[in-house]
Symmetry: C2
Subunit: 193 residues, 2 copies
């Protein structure tokens, strides 16, 4: 699954970038150890009266190879990053994209972060795409986080952390449109600042 | 299929490299247009009395992005390249690995090329892994090419072209061993010079 992202999905985005004049380079977290992390310790379960540790190949990102990222950026390449990432034993592990974005934002001291999702933005009512909230103040984030659950709750928590690490604007916008980044930068979606 | 190489196969090699202290970066030919080529024109077929052109997404590599390759090499990264490559319209196309090796050798002016296959090397009798030919002189290549067919014939033709472009040694060796590159450099397999 995570290799499918590194193959089909990532390379398709790179191909589309070049078709639109963007000199993209697709990299997984493994390549040049671009994204290093720590593998989850596993969970303890009792099975047939015995304690077992169930451990999968997942974990949390911690460090970006800033040297490689700067090398590419300063030579006009646009890195397109994807899971998997590298664990402390040099094994591939899966991780949450929102966590990678957080570590990237901190490393690059990014001012603005665009978060594309499969919805027009943060919705007042998750079943009504017309209920888009266009502006959220940073001070409101805590309350908005309480309002939602599941993946969106995790995303709002991740967004809150971006501001703790110095972001001044986060835009949650629709990734399904013809020009999602241009739309986001022109103020469509939910602008949080 | 070609995206599976860019994902699962390439990233697995990158992961193994890092586990052995090699700072690998896996790139497809799409990334930074590392390998650019020309798409095949297609073949003409008559179907129900009408002429049709059947065209797939395959082609021939022509140019390496030497700047990106040098940038990575000069900063201590080991590029691990894979199909797909980029055609002249910025679409992903598949191609023969042997053709990519030829363009790479020419670009890098590589002295030695190691070609790992699923056999001990060039075999006198393709069904007998014990019939390894250990040394082939460049002058013999033409005759050896006549001796085989299918994929091996194409490979021997590709090897002959490497010498035309300045290679001084080509080693065809077994990719299935524990240390295929070390084995090849120590003289196992078929050494052509």
């Amino acid at each position: 699954m995570m290799m499918a992202y590194a193959g089909a999905r990532n390379k398709r985005i790179v191909e589309l970038c070049h078709q639109h004049g963007i000199n993209a380079v697709g990299l997984s977290g493994l390549d040049g150890k671009m994204i290093q992390g720590v593998r989850n310790k596993g969970i303890r379960v009792y099975q047939d009266g015995k304690l077992k540790i169930l451990r999968d190949y997942s974990g949390k990102p911690e460090v970006i190879n800033e040297g490689l990222l700067d090398l590419l950026l300063s030579h006009g390449y646009v890195p397109v990053l994807t899971v998997p990432i590298m664990d402390e034993q040099n094994f591939a592990i899966n991780t949450e994209n929102d966590d990678v974005v957080r570590v990237l934002q901190k490393t690059l001291r990014a001012d603005t972060v665009i978060n594309l999702i499969e919805a027009p933005g943060f919705l007042e009512n998750k079943d009504d795409e017309g209920s888009l909230i266009r502006r959220i103040a940073v001070g409101e984030l805590d309350a908005r986080e309480q309002q939602v659950d599941g993946r969106m709750k995790r995303k709002m928590l991740a967004v809150r952390k971006l501001f703790e690490h110095g972001a001044s604007k986060v835009i949650i916008a629709d990734g399904r449109t013809g020009h999602p980044v241009k739309d986001a930068l022109s103020g469509k979606g939910t602008v949080i600042e």
